[in-house]
Symmetry: C2
Subunit: 148 residues, 2 copies
């Protein structure tokens, strides 16, 4: 994992359709060498997958909210229960007063309310505290060029 790997990752985050010949030029390598580097990054799991970034509004999911989920029990084994709610795009176990923090994308605030109802249906959930997003400044990938 050297500087060339980080540059390749940054370039692929920007546009994963970039040809290996172009990638190679950007980092000072031949197309074959760039290809081999990227293949190993995938193999080692550094690059998890190639995917597309979709506009949520275009899919009719214009409402974004973060919900703090309080619980009366250990939530560490409840990943599947949260994953079963398709509107949840993220779910994290957190330190602090709440137990789980989830990111929700829904069509309307009424639908958001329905998601909250389903969250209450998860065993151990005792409360929710929703924060609605008014405007998203940005959403981007991990910075590949930090020293770490």
């Amino acid at each position: 994992m050297d500087d060339i790997d980080r540059k390749l990752i940054a370039a692929l985050q920007r546009d994963a359709t970039t040809a290996y010949a172009t990638l190679g030029k950007e980092v000072g390598l031949s197309a074959g060498a760039a290809h081999e580097r990227v293949r190993k990054l995938r193999e080692r799991g550094v690059i998890r997958r190639t995917t597309v970034d979709v506009d949520p509004a275009a899919l009719g999911q214009g409402v974004l909210a973060y919900v703090m989920v309080d619980s009366s029990a250990w939530m560490g084994d409840s990943a599947a229960a949260f994953a079963a709610i398709p509107e949840l795009v993220e779910a994290h176990v957190i330190a602090g007063s709440a137990s789980v923090l989830v990111k929700v994308r829904a069509a309307t605030t009424e639908r958001l309310q329905d998601v909250l109802r389903r969250l209450y249906g998860i065993e151990g959930v005792s409360g929710t505290q929703a924060t609605v997003v008014l405007e998203t400044f940005f959403e981007r990938g991990v910075a590949a060029d930090l020293t770490g």
Copy 2:
């Protein structure tokens, strides 16, 4: 934007390296027709870009936290100031007591503290409240198969 478009988006979210011939088979279309559909989805901005999903820990950014940023002024024009901090992977203007919610990836909790310091450097910021993530259940794309 019909059911075939949604299936194509879902397939590309899973693996954007899938060949158009394979995509076409999955939705009952020829490779050329699938290609044309995807081209239009990109053109209309439904698909914003093709990117790679990178393991933050592999890049030495193993600490994830959400920070509520309080302010004493209107923050709506501060997008650039937040974007200038590379550890911030998301920034949203929110409804509620805080003004902005940011998602931070850092190498260590010491580095997280440094990010908080830089957040205080943004004009108008009067306080922060960080929530550290202990375990991530999942992070995934918008569900493409909801009625909306």
